[in-house]
């Protein structure tokens, strides 16, 4: 199974589209290497802007470019974009309604060994609280490419979070991507697992294992966290009566919170939010930290059985 980082797929797609639309720009803050954008910078230097290590200026400049008809794609660290430059994102991008696409790279625990300063585990909560900005986390390289093809057609502010490491494919080449429209990857009737980003793969693996144990599990890829596909959530609550969410984010304010807000106001059912608890996450390689916090197929299987039992 191919393992390619989503950011690399995004770069390839942007190079392709920037060759057609000369207003498409990529901006980095000494982050072109980490963002896999060196190729863009060397192939299309006239559409590439380096601003140095200055995230506030990065976002402000992108807003000014967008206000002048350009279509800027920022590629910088999720940990810093979502904190250091959040006021620029709120005022210059979301409030001013400028056509800026913000790609938060090395999201979640990508920099697991580097500590809380480099963990990006609050970005979704922060972005989700700001009006007029969409929030997307693609699952694999195919979805990443479809996402970019969709994003170049809209003028709205969007935050996209991707991880640093290669991810396993979820889709074969053909995936549908519509902003705000979740994808039901596997159908099932006992419980629904809702995930985003690279944890869609984990959700699928969990469902396959649960099936072997006689539990029918629905898997939903919630690639767009805002605007949220509320209908698919309500339907899952009605039809499967149990929901588990799985995400590489703080338990406060991320996908699980977003889903819970819908469930509790429409069709309350037992839920379990699997995420990073409200503490400075331990350091370690991403896979080690995931394991520690129960972000693994075996842990999801265990939580599923627990939820079914306690609510049954």
């Amino acid at each position: 199974m191919a393992k390619i980082a989503n950011k690399a797929a995004i770069c390839d797609k942007l190079i392709e589209l920037a060759g057609i639309d000369r207003d498409i720009l990529v901006l980095t803050s000494d982050s072109r290497g980490s963002a896999s954008m060196s190729k863009f910078a060397s192939e299309i230097p006239e559409q590439f802007v380096e601003v140095g290590i200055a995230e506030q200026n990065l976002v402000g400049i992108a807003a000014g470019l967008a206000a002048s008809g350009k279509k800027p794609y920022i590629a910088s660290y999720a940990a810093f974009l979502s904190m250091r430059s959040i006021e620029q994102i709120k005022v210059d991008v979301a409030y001013s309604n400028t056509n800026v696409k913000i790609i938060g790279i090395s999201g979640g625990l990508s920099y697991g060994p580097l500590g809380m300063s480099h963990h990006a585990l609050q970005d979704i909560a922060v972005m989700r609280a700001i009006p007029n900005i969409k929030v997307i986390m693609p699952a694999d390289r195919h979805e990443s490419k479809k996402m970019i093809e969709t994003l170049v057609q809209i003028d709205d502010p969007v935050y996209i979070r991707v991880g640093r490491n290669p991810v396993e494919d979820v889709y074969d080449g053909n995936c549908n991507f519509q902003i705000g429209k979740a994808v039901t990857i596997m159908d099932g009737s006992d419980i629904t697992i809702i995930a985003c980003g690279r944890f869609v793969r984990t959700a699928i693996d969990s469902a396959v294992e649960l099936k072997k144990q006689g539990i029918s599990c629905r898997v939903i890829n919630m690639h767009t966290i805002k605007p949220l596909d509320t209908q698919v959530i309500i339907k899952a609550a009605v039809e499967t009566e149990h929901i588990i969410t799985l995400e590489e984010h703080s338990v406060n304010g991320g996908l699980g919170s977003a889903v819970a807000e819908v469930v509790v106001q429409n069709q309350p059912v037992p839920m379990k939010i699997i995420a990073i608890p409200d503490e400075p996450a331990i350091s370690g390689k991403p896979e080690e930290v995931y394991e520690y916090y129960g972000l693994s197929a075996s842990a999801v299987v265990k939580e599923t059985k627990k939820l079914l039992k306690t609510s049954g």
Binding site: A54, N57, G60, G64, G69, K70, P72, D92
Partner: protein
């Protein structure tokens, strides 16, 4: 393009308009707006290429009010030029008005929403960079406060403007030496301010921010040096034009009483041209 005398008359009229607007609204940044009125009047009536009938004209000169709280003079000028209806000024800061207390780009003629300090210069850098990329001749003017200079993001933007060689970018500092707490030098010393900007790679020019001839000559003859952005330190008086608000930090957002409004108008009217003497 107005001559010096007409600019002075126009500025006096804008001051009357903004004082009335603030009085009606019951709120506003009076001292800050009076401070920048002459700079904005010079820009809009004798320097910038803008078209009220086509506010989004691609080759227009851009203006960004980075010190967004001083929005009153800006709205009054946009109304006087016909970007918006003059009657709309009575809605300033009122329920559901688009004339909110900081620049709002839903208002024709306003490029960007500002208000949080230290944002405008970065945005202006983006606009000036876009002009260079598209080989367009428009200029980008950004007005900053002096208290605002303490924001670190200003210096990120300053560094990048010089790095990109943006000679189509003109930063103006409304140097009135007062911020809400008091003297800028006591709150957080800025001097030597011109030297700071020079060392960041900018051409720096100092002017009397209430001298229309100096303002017009300086702002019209930019770039001072090809390949470099220009910074104009406009030495101003906070609360300018009304004897009892000048240099008075409490007027930063003081709303005039009816008596103060009448006295202010009495002081300004003799300077405000024929249209306003009636």
């Amino acid at each position: 393009m107005l001559d010096k005398q007409l600019l002075a008359e126009k500025a006096a009229q804008i001051r009357i308009d903004l004082l009335e607007m603030i009085y009606n609204a019951g709120m506003g940044h009076t001292g800050s707006s009076l401070s920048n009125t002459d700079i904005l009047t010079t820009l809009y009536y004798s320097v910038m290429n803008v078209n009220p009938n086509e506010p989004n004209w691609e080759d227009r000169d851009r203006f960004v009010l980075s010190k967004g709280h001083a929005v009153e003079s800006y709205y009054c000028i946009l109304a006087d030029l016909g970007f918006i209806d003059k009657d709309e000024l009575t809605t300033f800061c009122q329920y559901q008005s688009r004339l909110i207390g900081h620049p709002n780009n839903k208002v024709p003629g306003v490029e960007m929403n500002t208000g949080a300090l230290g944002h405008g210069l970065s945005v202006a850098v983006g606009m000036a960079k876009a002009a260079k990329m598209d080989k367009r001749d428009y200029r980008v003017f950004v007005l900053m406060g002096d208290g605002e200079q303490a924001e670190g993001s200003i210096w990120e933007a300053s560094m990048s403007a010089a790095h990109f060689g943006l000679d189509n970018l003109i930063g103006i500092i409304d140097r009135n030496r007062l911020q809400i707490t008091g003297s800028t030098e006591e709150v957080m010393a800025l001097e030597p301010l011109a030297e700071k900007w020079k060392s960041f790679g900018w051409q720096v020019v100092e002017v009397d921010g209430h001298d229309f001839q100096q303002l017009r000559e300086t702002l019209s003859s930019i770039p001072v040096e090809k390949g470099r952005p220009t910074l104009v330190v406009a030495n101003t008086v906070k609360g300018k034009g009304v004897s009892f608000s000048e240099n008075n930090p409490t007027w930063h957002h003081h709303v005039p009483s009816e008596d103060e409004l009448n006295r202010a108008i009495q002081e300004l009217k003799p300077f405000a041209g024929a249209d306003n003497n009636g």
